[in-house]
């Protein structure tokens, strides 16, 4: 971070932001404007700053972020669909001095992996679960997910999600916040620079709690899916602010008692 740049008029500038060293040079496969890559950047920035590259182990999910191990230059393990938190539990129990996080989407964590997630948090496993909630199955073609908002049009709900038939969106973060094993539960976003700064603080806190063996930390990131929502990236930001945050309000759901 100490590189300098000399302008034509002789002003010397210092580098204040660059691509985190812990990211590999592989370009992301995500669609333009996808929130996944921002979360990857933030996670790896924190790993860089805390200098824990050699002792962090990530668990990649099934979904859009299935190739997370291509981009993060740390030890990664691929898990079966929905079972990332269970695999992370195993890794943490065998290697308790490593820092373990699982990175999961909403189709992974809130649908097929609901049982694994709830029981992992209930056991108070000392891991960090990063949950990306964009309300849709992005990878398979924009189908309805458990977190899809009522009335939201997806490829399997062309007239909008009917709550009488498909039920209500699952607020799994509120659910796990009720469990005694959860130590720190928060809902963040990546829709503007300040939200990204807050997310970075939350991830840093979560890794620090894990170093102190406090319990499960759960970070939900309300994200966008330009391809699945059939919007431009700039339109998705407006949709997030106007619609998604009404149902998924941002903020801490469970903070440690000092």
């Amino acid at each position: 971070m100490n590189e300098k740049l000399l302008l034509d008029d002789g002003t010397e500038l210092e580098q204040v932001y660059c691509r985190p060293d812990t990211l590999t040079d592989v370009p992301y496969h995500y669609c333009p404007g996808c929130g996944h890559s921002v979360v990857h950047n933030v996670l790896m920035e924190v790993v860089d700053e805390l200098d824990i590259q050699d002792k962090t182990i990530g668990v990649a999910p099934v979904g859009c972020s299935v190739f997370a191990y291509h981009y993060m230059n740390i030890d990664m393990q691929e898990a079966a669909h929905g079972r990332a938190s269970a695999v992370a539990t195993g890794i943490k129990r065998v290697l308790p001095d490593k820092l373990v996080f699982s990175y999961q989407g909403d189709g992974d964590l809130a649908a097929i992996g609901t049982a694994e997630t709830i029981h992992t948090v209930n056991r108070g496993e000392n891991i960090l679960i990063v949950f990306i909630n964009n309300g849709i199955y992005g990878m398979t073609g924009g189908q309805m997910a458990p977190t899809t908002l009522p009335g939201m049009v997806t490829s399997t709900s062309p007239y909008g999600r009917d709550v009488h038939m498909a039920g209500y969106p699952l607020k799994i973060t509120d659910l796990v916040a009720q469990l005694p094993g959860a130590y720190y539960v928060t809902r963040q976003s990546v829709h503007n620079p300040n939200a990204v700064r807050k997310l970075k603080k939350a991830v840093t806190k979560a890794f620090e709690y894990q170093m102190q063996n406090k319990g499960t930390c759960f970070i939900e990131v309300v994200s966008n899916c330009p391809s699945g929502w059939k919007m431009t990236p700039v339109e998705t930001i407006k949709y997030l602010e106007d619609v998604m945050f009404q149902y998924y309000p941002l903020g801490d759901l469970k903070v440690p008692k000092e």
């Binding site: 500038l13 204040v16 932001y17 333009p32 404007g33 890559s37 700039v234």
Partner: protein
């Protein structure tokens, strides 16, 4: 005003325009050229950058490197006064 600048890696830019939305100085804009992947990439169109890193934080591709003038130390400020 503190001066800054950005260097954008046009090869990996996908032209999602999120950085244009985030820039408080409206200094970024889409180029009229395309990169190798066929996306219109973002470039600095006005020399108004203050190095606030907003664009780099929201850039999904981590394609933006930000440079900023060092803040003048309090001692040198007092001297110049």
């Amino acid at each position: 005003m503190i001066k800054g600048t950005v260097i954008i890696n046009a090869k990996v830019c996908k032209g999602c325009e999120l950085c244009i939305l985030a820039c408080p100085q409206n200094a970024l804009g889409l180029s009229s050229n395309f990169n190798e992947k066929g996306y219109r990439y973002v470039e600095l169109i006005y020399d108004a950058c203050t190095g606030c890193t907003n664009c780099a934080l929201v850039c999904p591709e981590a394609a933006i490197t930000v440079y900023r003038q060092a803040k003048p130390s309090k001692k040198s400020q007092i001297k110049s006064e």
